[in-house]
Amino acid sequence: MTDSIKKNHPDNYFSLLGLPVSFAVDKKRLTNNYHDIQKSIHPDKYANATDRERRLSVQKAAQINDALQTLKNPLQRSIYLLSLYDIELGENNNSIDPAFLMEQMELRENLSQVNDKDDPLGELDTISDDVKSRINKIISGLENLFNGLLSADEQDDELLKKTSAQVLKMQFLNRLQEECLNKEEDLADQL
């Protein structure tokens, strides 16, 4: 079973950037490796090469850029790790618990009422900080969950389900965070 898991594939984003497959990422090493690889394969280094090599270099550089974007961001990284187990997020929302959904609706409602408050930007900050701390809590839990998954000899379906549910929650919260930022931009433009 384990052999079929794509995490062992040499073309996965972690191997591409010379990192171990794991949720925790050494940011400094990620950036260093990324820079060094781009220095060797970027199209600028193939400006005098054959057409074939130039084309390949554009494709490879694009792939490395994609790998960096995915690994840099905790949500993207989680979704990617799940994809190595052939899990596609968002197909089945039943796994999310009703209490969490209630909370989400409440936060959204607060956000929509920000404009009516005396200090809309201050109010927005409070909501946005709340969302951020919720995301951080999920992130710290995910490290253990993924460690458990990745170190298991056999695929642990129960654990996989539990992890996916957490990642799905993070996706909800991330969207909320984006909406907070959009709102902030709108408010700032009105000033």
Partner: protein, 626 residues
């Protein structure tokens, strides 16, 4: 022990030759050309000692299909007497449709049947912005060839970071028309950062605020060990010093109660406005004197405070993108090491003051805001032709605008988000909507807004040849790629059958290949024989380039990555290509290049992989040593 390199009999060993490459800043108001001279990048002056070439082209007539023009200072001086044939600020019209450019323009624009590109009616005929720009580029090219004493291997041309795909493509087409080999289009603020960063040697986060004659860019870059990484960029490709001139012009028109100025008077007023703006960068007031159509003289004072009142809304407009880049780069104002001012319009004191207040830091104004972009471009050009000057330098830029597709209901679905590092490739899957459907129309746009009508239309194309299937069964994967020039290409494949679909990209505001071809013919006014000779020569140069690149690759990696048979096969192919390219069959050379390309495909792939592995292996060793 180093191995001695011995060349095949009959082949010359290419000694390390210094190739001539230039950087060109094709500006709205002024253009410059720069190159590296004994390790130092410098702008090149004309015979009169002028470094700046005013981006002004006066069309005088047409001779044997090629335009007769004056470019630069001469054209500028003649402008008031020949305003409709003397084109200023042509950069504002690049890659734009008619409705975008009519405002504030004195020229007679016309559109031709079967072409999306507007043309300006002149005494020499109807000319597109691309052809006008090509005249400026030709002048700069000639200046460089004269100064450097030889043909140019290639040029890096700068474009505003906020230029969209159509504007970039138009710039590249203009360079092609001017007979330049474009090594790369690079973003103006990035070029400025290269010049500034390499000189100051300071690592960290730099902000480049670039307010030119017609465009505004803001870029935030991080510099680490020779890598210039753009974190975010934003701007306005129709906001610059010209708009400050227009603000003054509108004020003059109102004060002098001029309702319907003709082109010549408007040109005179615009010139007076520009001079007043320049005076007000150093003095508290400027005197405006204008000769009206009836011969009367109108004179008035423009005070600094009145001037600042006129332009303040425009400068405030630049702060909106500033705020957005900070957000997109995910940094705080505290993280910023310095704010570098680039572009002639940053000489206006109010600009410096408002930018300083916004970033809460004194902006750097000690570099020449006119020359820095061309100088940065020259350094990058030198690296790209392989002169190994700043070998460790690497520019990682981003795409300034999101790329989207039209979906049901006129909405834009984003495929590539703004500020994604380029090159980037994203695939999007589509399916058919009706049984037996064999074609589908795809509309690509650039912009941030949700409605298609609020975004800029880039291209419409049709995917044809989809095998007939029931609705929803086909799986068409369309891949959008933005290359290192920031230019888009599209490819498509039907996944279930493996059929590659033909794609016809119709650029919304671009020239078709046919139009370019005919312009090239016109501009060189060659007879058919000459065109054939030129095509042959171009193909031979391409063959030489392929041979050179492959020999270098074999020398570097042949032993390590190829079996003896594989090496022999490639060597034989190279020899055949050398032999064929001595002949005069352009088509045969082209075919041979293609076949060599196929034979070496596997080798290219292995080299790329080996290069990455080597990099990563080197790092493991470093880590162990630490």
């Amino acid at each position: 022990m180093a191995l001695l390199q011995i060349s095949e009999p009959g082949q010359t060993t290419a000694p390390h030759q210094h190739k001539l490459a230039v950087g060109i800043d094709l500006g709205t108001t002024n253009s410059l050309v720069a190159s590296l001279k004994s390790g130092l990048a410098e702008t090149i002056a004309d015979e009169d000692g002028h470094h700046l070439l005013p981006s002004v082209v006066q069309f005088l007539g047409k001779n044997d299909d090629s335009y007769q023009t004056d470019v630069g200072h001469q054209a500028q001086q003649n402008a008031a007497n020949d305003s409709l044939n003397t084109i200023f600020s042509v950069k504002r019209y690049m890659g734009r449709g008619l409705e975008d450019i009519k405002k504030h323009s004195i020229y007679n624009f016309v559109t031709e049947k079967d072409s999306a590109v507007p043309r300006i009616r002149t005494i020499a005929g109807d000319v597109s912005a691309i052809e006008v720009s090509a005249e400026i580029l030709k002048k700069l090219k000639q200046r460089a060839v004269d100064a450097l004493g030889g043909d140019l291997t290639g040029a890096v041309i700068t474009v505003p970071a906020y230029f969209d795909d159509a504007q970039r493509q138009a710039t590249k087409d203009a360079a092609k028309l001017a007979g330049l080999n474009v090594l790369r289009l690079i973003n103006e603020p990035t070029a400025a950062a290269v010049a500034y960063g390499l000189d100051s040697g300071s690592e960290g986060i730099h902000v480049i605020y670039d307010l030119g004659g017609g465009t505004f860019d803001i870029s935030i870059l991080k510099l680490t060990k020779g890598v210039f990484e753009v974190l975010a960029t934003a701007g306005d490709s129709a906001l610059g010093g010209d708009d400050l001139d227009h603000a003054i012009t509108d004020w003059i028109l109102a004060e002098a109660q001029i309702n319907d100025p003709d082109a010549a008077l408007l040109r005179t007023i615009l010139d007076a406005a520009r001079q007043a703006k320049e005076t007000l960068s150093e003095q508290d007031s400027a005197t405006l004197t204008i000769e009206l159509a009836n011969g009367n003289i109108w004179q008035n004072e423009l005070s600094l405070s009145q001037f600042e009142k006129l332009i303040k809304p425009l400068i405030r407009k630049t702060l909106v993108p500033c705020r957005r880049t900070l957000r997109d780069a995910n940094i705080e104002a505290d993280d910023i090491q310095d704010v570098v001012m680039v572009g002639g319009s940053t000489r206006v004191p109010l600009v410096r003051q408002m930018v300083g207040e916004f970033f809460a830091t004194e902006p750097l104004v000690n570099i020449d805001p006119d020359k820095v972009v061309a100088i940065g471009a020259a350094r990058q050009a030198d690296v790209l032709v392989g002169n190994k000057s700043d070998e460790d330098m690497l520019l990682l830029d981003v795409t300034p605008l999101s790329l989207g597709l039209e979906t049901m209901g006129g909405l834009a679905e984003k495929v590539i988000h703004r500020n994604t590092t380029i090159p980037v490739a994203r695939a999007q899957d589509f399916t058919t909507f009706k049984d037996g459907q064999t074609a589908m129309a795809i509309h690509v746009v650039q912009g941030e807004r949700e409605l298609i009508s609020d975004c800029r239309s880039l291209a419409r194309f049709e995917l044809r040849g989809i095998p007939p299937m029931v609705a929803g069964a086909a799986r068409i994967r369309v891949t959008f790629q933005i290359d290192a020039d920031g230019l888009l290409s599209v490819s498509a494949k039907e996944e279930t059958s493996g059929v590659e679909s033909r794609i016809q990209v119709k650029p919304s505001y671009g020239l078709s290949d046919g139009e370019i071809e005919s312009m090239l013919k016109d501009s060189f006014s060659y007879a058919q024989d000459d065109i054939d000779a030129r095509k042959l020569r171009e193909e031979q140069v391409e063959a030489e380039r392929v041979v050179e690149a492959l020999q270098a690759a074999l020398l570097e990696d042949g032993e390590a990555l190829l079996s003896a048979e594989e090496q022999a096969a490639i060597r034989q192919a190279i020899d055949e290509l050398i032999e064929i390219s001595k002949g005069s069959e352009q088509r045969a050379i082209k075919l041979k290049i293609e076949s060599v390309d196929k034979i070496t495909a596997e080798f290219a792939q292995r080299r790329m992989d080996a290069s990455i592995n080597k990099t990563l292996a080197g790092q493991k060793v470093n880590e162990l040593n630490q």
